[in-house]
Symmetry: C2
Subunit: 69 residues, 2 copies
């Protein structure tokens, strides 16, 4: 299993945390996602052969947040 | 119809706005609620004979926010 940390702007509260984690966890190939509001980032455990970066970015942006590239 | 403005702490984003407005709008006697995130407050249109202050405060606090008294 791989892990990556994605920097995200605009997450302010528990609802934001749940939205981003929920969107990522719905993706096939994502095993877990945990947002740190303090660090403005989400840590994702995933399977490299099943999900790519673009899908994760799309999931986050689909919730209305900007990914820092 | 009466109107009152309630000061609320901790609302940071659109999800917070929706949570507070939704909880108030569910109350019998509330005709409308609109959160201003900028002003940390919610404006409520309501019928005095159907809903009291305590019920509105409970609805807001039930969503995890503090009412400034």
């Amino acid at each position: 299993m791989a892990n990556k940390t994605i920097k995200v702007e605009g997450m302010t509260c528990g609802h934001c945390k749940s939205s981003v984690e929920g969107a990522l966890n719905k993706l096939e190939g994502v095993n877990g996602a945990e947002v740190s509001l303090e660090d403005n980032q989400v840590s994702v455990d995933y399977q490299k052969d099943k999900v790519d970066d673009a899908a994760m970015v799309d999931a986050i942006e689909g919730q209305g947040y900007d990914v820092v590239k």
